[in-house]
Amino acid sequence: MIYLDNAATTRQKPQPVIDAVVSAMTTLGNSARGTHEGSLSASRMIYGTREKLATFFNCPRPDHVVFTANSTEALNMAICGLLDPGDHVISTDLEHNSVLRPLYRLEAERSVSLSFVPADRQGRIDYGEFGRLIRPETRAIICTHASNLTGNAVDIGRVGAIAHDHGLIFLVDASQTAGVLPIDMEAQQIDLLCFTGHKSLMGPQGTGGLCLGENVALRPWKVGGTGVQTYNPAQPEQLPTRLEAGTLNGHGIAGLSAALDYIRAVGMETIREKEETLMRRFYEGVSAIPGVTVYGDFTAPRTAVVALNIRDYDSGEVSDALAQDYGIATRPGAHCAPRMHRALGTERQGAVRFSFGWFNTEAEIDVAIRAVKELAE
C-alpha cells in the first residue's frame, strides 16, 4: 500500500515507538497507584513525557500538560470547561467537527454565541475579521493551526496577539500541526493547546493532550479516581490531576515519549522539509492535469496536504479507484470539515485528500501522480 492518509493518522510509526509500547506493556504498572517499582516506573515515564511535551510546546510547566485520549477529548475538555452562559466565541470556517460540535452544543445548551471568520474559495481567512467580530461579551478565540482539508496554515502568532490585545483566551487546535510546524505557547500567546499524539507526532493512537497556560482555569468535565486525595469528595484542584480522572494510557504515553525523542533526534525542521518537498512534487505533478481541481493556497505556509477533485467525479469513487486499482490510500468525502467544504463549494462532491508523511518516498508520489493522470483521462 502507498499510504497517503497521514492527516488521518501516521500509519507507519518509528520502530522506537513500537519498541517502547511493547516494553511498557511488559513492565509498567498503573501510575499513581502505589510506590512499588511497577507503579513508580509508570509515574516516572508519564512525568518525563510531561516534561518533554512542555519543552516541545514551550508550555510554562510540566504539570500543565494534561493527557487525553485524543484531540477531540482535549478540545471538549477545554471548550466545555472554559465557557459560561452568555459567552461569545470567535472561531473560523477552517475548523474540524471536533471544535465545531462542542461549540454548537454549547450554543444550544448554554446560550454561548458564536461567530466565524469566513474562508474564501481557496480556504484563506482575512485576519482583520477577528478584530471586527469582537464584542464586549467575547471570551475566546478558538481556531485550528491548519485546515485538515486544504492544509492551509493559520498564523497563530498573529491571532494570539489579537486575542491578548483584547483580553481574550486563545485556544489552538494543533491536531494537524503538532510535530511538524513550530508551536510556542509563550511566543504565540496560546492559553490552551490541544494536540493529538498519533498524527505528526508519530505516536500511538489513544494519546493526546491539553497544555494550559499560566492564567487559565478549566472546570473538569470528568471526575473520578486519581490515586490522590482519596477522601476529598471533589476532584482535586491541582493540575494535572484536576483534569485527569481514571487510569492514564501509560502504554501509549510511553510510545509518545519515544516519538518525541525520535522527532528531536531527526529534527522537526528536517521532517517538515521532506514532507513539504513531497507535497510540492505532488502538487506540481497534478495541478496542471486537465480536469483536476486542487483546493487551498499554495503560496503561504501549509501542511503536507493536497485536496483535489477530478472532473465532477464523486470523491468517494475516485478514492476507491485509487485504493483498488493502484493501492493508494487517500481520504475522500467531507473530512469532518463542513464549513470548509461549503466555503470551497465542494459540499456535494467532497474532495480527495492526499496527505504526506515522513516515511513516504518520491517514488510513491510519482505513482500517485500517474494514477491521478490516468483517472482524469
Binding site: 502505589g34 512525568y47 510540566p62 504539570d63 486519581t226 490522590v228 482535586p236 484542584e237 491541582q238 494535572p240
Partner: protein, 78 residues
C-alpha cells in the same frame, strides 16, 4: 515490622508533584525515596518523599528555590 526511625517526610497534592520532587532530588544527588504516605499525615498524594532528617535544610532551601510544590513537610517516625 521494621523498627521506626525519625525521617523527613514530604507530601504532595499530586503525583506529578511527587515525580517532580524525585526527579529533582535525583538530579541533585540528594538522598531519599518515595514511600506510601504514612497514615499519620493527611493523605493528599498517595506517595511521599522520605529523606534523612539531616538532609532537610538543604532539601528545603533547594525546593523553595526551585518552586517545588508540596503539601506537608515534617519529621516523623516511619
Amino acid at each position: 515490622m521494621r523498627p521506626k526511625t525519625l525521617k523527613l517526610v514530604v507530601t504532595f497534592h499530586t503525583t506529578a508533584a511527587a515525580m517532580a520532587m524525585e526527579a529533582f532530588c535525583k538530579a541533585q544527588n540528594l538522598p531519599g525515596r518515595l514511600i506510601p504516605t504514612p497514615r499519620e499525615l493527611t493523605a493528599d498524594c498517595g506517595m511521599a518523599w522520605c529523606a534523612p532528617v539531616d538532609a532537610g535544610e538543604t532539601l528545603r532551601a533547594l525546593a523553595d528555590a526551585h518552586h517545588l510544590e508540596y503539601a506537608l513537610w515534617q519529621e516523623l517516625l516511619v
